[in-house]
């Protein structure tokens, strides 16, 4: 018996505008560009991909089941720039075959810096899910699948039944990501680990013509999933939703692949689709998993180095969180909201110099010419926030 568990991440940051040291107004975000990107990605990915998913759910009479985690900042931008995306998610919700996960509203790294701030952002996110989608999340995923034992415990205390993490080799060792685990020392919460090989076959390698498995067909992928039978409970396919139509363009055949996949997988009588909470309800943990260090789903390192790999990144993050008490004491809701939007992990990802010289995925998703420019811009904005706090 192998369950296939799909989770798609939906996120759009509030990108900053060019903000010079000579600027002094409190308007930090590039509204024009954010609207443009939100509408473009909605047209290329969110709307057509949702249609594909909705069609699959209907065609398979509820046997096709999926989950999403949608950040609060993405929800806000949909509401402002492409409200039809929200309607589309409502239709998916109405099928009863879709789970929505909890995370931080601002797609932040707050767990690393402030438990209070982290909790408040998770509450804000679930509040948003209730308000907009009338949905109560039961399983949690942290920004960029960042995870360690402490987070497992903390999220259990918050009342979640499941938590998602990267099935990184450095924490799994010989163990398989296709079982479910219990965070070391936790009582009830269950840990679902991403099968990164199969996930990345879709998310990263699908259109790579240098890949010796190219082209990837639904049949071929189905055979790989079938191989898990008898060697695990679940194949956790976790990926950015933008894989469909944005990272992998429509002409790569990604939508056709996805339309075909459930049919192929369901041909095998032992296969089914389950959402993360259903997986957590269905299976007992195979054992306790000890993850003392932070893992994530980013880059080959699968650690924090994409956001905390150089002095600029750690400095910018530390400086943001140093303002927490003053901002909260200040009581200005707009100031709080602006400060929180600066916590979005993308801002720190743009400052990454790790792969910069080689040019790759960091560059592709980077609105700046260089990580230095992004740091300078960010620090100028932060300086203005600091002045507003003092006022």
């Amino acid at each position: 018996m192998a369950s296939v568990c799909f989770y798609f991440q939906v996120h759009q940051p509030y990108r900053l505008r060019h903000y010079s040291v000579f600027d002094s107004d409190p308007y930090y975000f590039d509204d024009y560009k954010n609207a443009e990107i939100c509408r473009k990605v909605s047209q290329k990915c969110y709307l057509p991909a949702n249609e594909v998913m909705l069609d699959l759910i209907r065609r398979h009479n509820g046997r096709f089941r999926i989950s999403y985690s949608i950040t609060g900042v993405a929800m806000d931008q949909f509401a402002a720039y492409s409200p039809e995306v929200i309607d589309s998610f409502k239709r998916l919700r109405d099928t009863g075959c879709v789970e929505f996960l909890a995370e931080t509203f601002y797609h932040s790294l707050s767990f690393l810096y402030s438990r209070d701030e982290f909790r408040e952002q998770v509450l804000a996110q679930t509040q948003k899910m209730r308000e907009v989608l009338d949905y109560e999340p039961q399983t949690f995923r942290n920004t960029e699948l960042i995870y360690n034992n402490d987070l497992g415990h903390y999220v259990e205390e918050l009342g979640y039944k499941g938590i998602l993490a990267e099935g990184a080799d450095q924490v799994l060792g010989y163990r398989s990501p296709n079982y479910i685990y219990r965070p070391l020392g936790a009582q009830n919460i269950k840990l679902l680990l991403k099968n990164y090989r199969l996930s990345d076959d879709i998310a990263f390698r699908f259109s790579n013509r240098q890949w010796n498995e190219w082209p990837l067909t639904a049949e071929k992928f189905g055979r790989w999933v079938d191989q898990v039978n008898g060697n695990g409970y679940t194949v956790n396919l976790f990926m950015d939703y933008e894989t469909f139509g944005e990272h992998q363009w429509e002409d790569t055949g990604i939508f056709n692949f996805m339309s075909k996949l459930p049919e192929v997988l369901l041909q095998h009588p032992d296969n089914d689709f389950r959402t993360p909470s259903e997986v957590a309800d269905s299976y007992d943990p195979a054992g306790a998993l000890d993850v003392p260090q932070m893992v994530s789903w980013a880059d080959v390192e699968r650690d924090l180095s994409a956001w905390l790999g150089n002095a600029m990144q750690s400095n910018a993050l530390r400086e943001v969180y140093r303002l927490e008490k003053q901002i909260k004491d200040n009581g200005d809701p707009q100031l709080l909201h602006d400060w929180r939007r600066l916590q979005t992990s993308d801002h720190f990802y743009y400052m990454c110099t790790k792969w910069f010289a080689d040019g790759d995925v960091h560059k592709y998703f980077n609105p700046y010419d260089s990580p230095y420019d992004s740091y300078i811009n960010f620090m100028n904005v932060l300086d203005n926030i600091r002045q507003r706090v003092r006022r």
């Binding site: 010079s20 002095a311 010289a357």
Partner: protein
């Protein structure tokens, strides 16, 4: 492979990028085993501070051409016969290079529009050449070197009389006189390919190519459009264009320059090869020996380059003004000389920041080292910079750099901040950011430390040699 190189400036006389590039390239080619006959304008003066040992320098006099006042280091008898008819010298770090000095009053950064500068240069070099001190010094060097080479040269001070000979009355006539001297010389030499650096050597190179029928490679380190903006000197442009037209291949120091060669000089794009310059890391220590005491409370932002329109000194001053609106513990040092010197000083005074800008004049040797050690940031605001070696030097001294996007080096540098030269607000924004944020400085320095290691004169030399192979194969 034997190359007749029409080049410029050797230590200790290097005054800018062209000389540095000729030196780095030639040395790397010599290490590669390429035989080079390097034609150097001006009789070579000696200097006490030189780290280059002159071996058997021969004054440029006609009488000596029949004798064997040539290098004793020449191991190849074949080559000896090539150069035995002309006065030559060698320097001991370049085994395969034979230098042929040509007494001509041309220096790399002259403009035919500046007759005054030409006359100043002319009077400078003729006075130097006739000075007793210089002759004595030359003798001393000869004497020293004769010990190491166990060989005694016979030349005396009389030879120098010829050095002060008939120079042209302006730069253009001097360029053509230089061409004639080189053309007279060339048939006595044996080489496979001619490699000429920038326009002042092009007439000579075209002449030699015509006389000998050897293939010509011209190396464009800068164009008239870089130096003069849109107010080009038509005569210089014509020489540049004729040089490129005549050449079998053109080497441009960047894509930035290659585009000029194609769009402004009508060259076929496949004929123009981009070969980037490099930096010699053995020369300068990348380790910083602690800050210099004076100016300790002030941060120091450095401009180092000629004060000419091309280098954008006025943008640096304008950005300084903006920086000082935000922070005050900063000083700006402008190291260099040039025809905009007075204008820049006046601009600083007009903006009321004269006391914050220090002018050092042209720096050389140890003073350059010292100023880099003092600097917190180097800025190159060039309006049009074909390559830009100074940022690499700054990086090798562990100094963060801001460079103009209108430069060749910005194509290949990652760990540098980049601005449009005209965008003084952004320039100031970035200067302030570097001065304010230690993590930014640190990240830039750390990454630059590794990045400059990818610039090697060996690679530059190999790329030039590949161009030689190509033009020879096409014959």
């Amino acid at each position: 492979m034997r190359v007749l190189m029409l080049g410029w400036e050797f230590p200790p006389f290097i005054s800018g990028g062209l000389g540095t590039a000729c030196y780095g390239l030639t040395r790397a080619m010599s290490d590669d085993g390429v035989e080079i006959i390097f034609v150097l304008p001006r009789a070579v003066r000696t200097d006490r501070s030189t780290h280059v040992r002159l071996i058997a320098p021969a004054p440029a006099r006609k009488e000596s051409t029949s004798t064997t006042t040539t290098t004793s280091h020449s191991s190849s008898t074949e080559r000896k016969s090539d150069v035995s008819q002309v006065p030559t010298f060698q320097i001991d770090e370049m085994e395969h290079v034979t230098f042929v000095p040509i007494a001509a009053a041309v220096t790399p950064y002259m403009s035919p529009d500046d007759q005054q500068a030409y006359e100043a240069e002319l009077s400078r070099i003729t006075s130097v050449q006739s000075s007793t001190e210089d002759v004595i010094e030359m003798r001393e060097i000869t004497h020293e070197s004769s010990e190491t080479t166990s060989r005694s040269s016979s030349h005396t001070a009389e030879g120098d009389a010829e050095l002060s000979g008939q120079y042209g009355h302006n730069l253009m006539t001097e360029v053509h006189r230089y061409a004639r001297l080189v053309m007279e010389l060339a048939p006595k030499l044996d080489f496979d390919v001619i490699h000429a650096h920038d326009w002042m050597t092009f007439p000579a190179a075209m002449g030699v190519a015509a006389v000998t029928g050897k293939p010509l490679v011209v190396h464009v380190h800068s164009t008239e459009f870089d130096r003069s903006g849109e107010r080009v000197n038509q005569h210089v442009y014509d020489i540049e264009r004729a040089g490129m037209d005549t050449a079998d291949a053109v080497i441009a120091v960047s894509n930035f320059t290659r585009k000029f060669c194609v769009s402004r000089y009508g060259q076929a794009s496949e004929k123009v090869h981009v070969v980037y310059n490099a930096i010699d890391l053995n020369g300068g220590s990348a380790v910083r020996e602690g800050p210099v005491e004076f100016l300790r409370d002030d941060r120091l932002v450095l401009f180092l380059g000629r004060l000419t329109m091309q280098k954008g000194p006025e943008y640096f001053v304008a950005a300084a003004k903006k920086v000082l609106e935000k922070i005050d513990n900063v000083k700006f040092v402008m190291a260099g000389s040039g025809d905009m010197f007075r204008r820049v000083i006046e601009l600083a005074a007009d903006l009321g920041i004269g006391h914050r800008i220090l002018f050092t004049g042209f720096l050389r040797g140890d003073d350059v080292e010292k100023i880099f050690r003092m600097a917190d940031l180097f800025v190159m605001p060039s309006v049009s910079e074909p390559f830009g070696l100074v940022p690499l030097e700054a990086m090798s001294h562990n100094v963060p750099v801001i460079i103009s996007k209108q430069s060749g080096v910005s194509e290949v540098l990652t760990h540098a901040l980049k601005v449009d030269f005209w965008d003084i607000n952004e320039m100031a924004n970035k200067i302030i950011a570097v001065l304010r944020h230690a993590p930014l400085q640190e990240t830039l320095k750390q990454n630059a430390h590794f990045e400059i290691r990818k610039f090697s004169w060996g690679d530059t030399a190999a790329a030039c040699e590949a161009v030689y192979d190509q033009v020879l194969a096409a014959r």
